[in-house]
Amino acid sequence: MKPRTMFEKIWDNHVIYSEENKPSLLYIDLHLVHEVTSPQAFEGLRLAGRKVRRPDLTFATIDHNVPTTDRSLPIEDPISRQQIETLRANCKEFGVTLYDLDSPEQGVVHVMGPELGLTHPGKTIVCGDSHTSTHGAFGALAFGIGTSEVEHVLATQCLQQKKPKTLEVHVEGELPTGVTAKDIILAIIAKWGTDFATGYVIEYTGDAIKKLSMEERMTVCNMSIEAGARAGLIAPDETTFAYLKGRRFAPKGEEWEKAISAWKELVTDEGAEYDRRVVINAREIEPQVTWGTSPGMGIGISGVVPAPEDFATENERKATQNALAYMGLEPHTPITEIEIDRVFIGSCTNGRIEDLRAAAKIANGYKVAPHVNAMVVPGSGMVKEQAEKEGLDKIFIEAGFEWREPGCSMCLAMNPDVLAPGERCASTSNRNFEGRQGRGGRTHLVSPEMAAAAAIAGHFVDVRNWEVKEREGKAHGTV
């Protein structure tokens, strides 16, 4: 048999039907649902008199709209409340499991799925959310879909898909200290642009990727969509299996053994060819900061804000000019001189326990700069509980960060966590588009470590030179 890439194996395992010049019909193993992109899909089912074909493979949560303050209070925004109540009613009517606001497991859908052990290597996973690519960290083919496709999957458990091409992004060498998974993906997007992977499924390979923890791998795969990719994949290995073992929905006993041997078969065969291949050296990556209004407008911390004339094409020059005007930045300003007003640590990109540990390590023993408002929003109820067990909440609160309830929060600011016009934010989220965190708000994407350090310094600093203060007592030995 011709050697195949991991993507091709997963694809072949799920094609139910194919015909020349037509999209293939692909079976979907897991469908995650949230309140914003599902109401019209359920309504469509109702109008057509259709059922949810596999409620047992469908899981819902409420994350985009939820307040991150006191959960016992009613949701003030009546339209948000209606959307949340609509999801509750739909889940009840169609028999779908919902992790509601009072559930200890509620959280950002892409944090919750892996934590519950729903995300497995080799699965096809979809959600009406572009950051579904996160789950590719496990070697699952996971991608975002629109609401019409949500309805399609609810009704048929299948999707019509045209086979994407394959792209290997090889990250060789060792990642320097203080440089994170977030910096890898930001550097990749800065180097090749926000549409370089359009039409492709990326497989991330190389020593730097193999050494990442599961949570770091999720950060990398999460932002594959910001490179335009259909999905991002990382080969499952012992790190993957160790993360999954024992989780609530992970296979148990004999099934676990069967699963492991099947999952080991998924890795790309020797000699398999990708349609395209790019290489980046991890040693050359610095902590990244975006300066513009597209995730590809990023640079290392030792750099300066570029000028429009630094770019080759008229379109790029115009885009840079618009971005600098929106961001209120002058060309050639050193990145370390950019002062910030707000800090957001959280999201499906960087709201996991390791992210909070990393940020807490930087924050420990320091105080947030007086002019900065900083908040930490755990990615899920389980992350919050674990962080509190480890005393991370205390470190943040003592340093002057706000400690919030889980949700998407200021990643997209659908809830009350919004930037005011002109406010400048160091954010661990994934998009710095105009208005993303609030109309006129200015977003700089960074790692959790860089965000915490910026909160304390009041401006961006090179976290590689940060003086980490030892934690007294080291209660759980984690920081």
Binding site: K22, R50, Q82, T147, C158, A319, R431, E434
Partner: protein
């Protein structure tokens, strides 16, 4: 879904690269539970200032583009969030065709599901269209999906290609779910042989 065959209309330009779906429909308008009524919020933060007055500099606010059903745009149109509210807003506002050198994947897909035709043309051709729109006030194009060509009535003729299956769905206004359900026996067969370790114990 309404079938799409042919349309003649004034062309509106949107001269920016990487137009994201947050710009097309900002998040504060995603809370509705219907598919309709999003047109009033299209490009909201570009169309209106903070006092909700129309921004006279924004292309779509210029009176000559008021009735445009065809939009020309730049690279990577529709990037970012998967929100189908973006095509819903474009369609509700009146756009039935979007022409650009490239589209983001999910957005491109979402257009077809809603009867919008996204056409990919080479960058130079799109540039030519931008110049024509700038030169001739009220510049019109006819987009003919049955014959896969764009004409301007002044001698310009541009062939285009669209994925054959999607073209057929648009021309006939086909319901995807109905098409898939015709394979019910194959879906059921697949489910019968489903790997045991993927079964989720509730």
């Amino acid at each position: 879904m309404e079938p799409f065959k042919k349309i003649t209309s004034v062309v509106a330009p949107l001269d920016r690269v990487n137009v994201d779906t947050d710009a097309i429909i900002p998040k504060q308008f995603l809370k509705r539970i219907e598919r309709t009524g999003f047109g009033q919020f299209l490009f909201y933060e570009w169309r209106f200032d903070e006092q909700e007055n129309p921004n006279p500099d924004f292309e779509l606010n210029k009176p000559q583009y008021k009735d445009a059903h065809i939009l020309i745009a730049r690279n990577n149109f529709g990037c970012g969030s998967s929100r189908e509210h973006a095509p819903w807003a474009l369609l509700d506002y009146g756009f039935k065709v979007i022409i650009a050198p490239s589209f983001a994947d999910i957005f491109h897909n979402n257009c077809f599901k809603n009867g919008i035709l996204p056409i990919v043309l080479p960058e130079e051709t799109v540039e030519q269209l931008f110049q024509n729109v700038a030169k001739h006030k009220g510049y019109q194009l006819t987009v003919d999906l049955e014959n896969n060509k764009i004409t301007d009535g002044q001698g310009l003729e541009i062939p285009f290609s669209v994925d054959e299956y999607r073209r057929e769905c648009l021309l006939k206004g086909l319901d995807d779910i109905g098409v898939t359900l015709m394979q019910e026996d194959k879906i059921a067969e697949y489910e019968k042989n489903y790997p045991s370790y993927y079964k989720i114990a509730q």
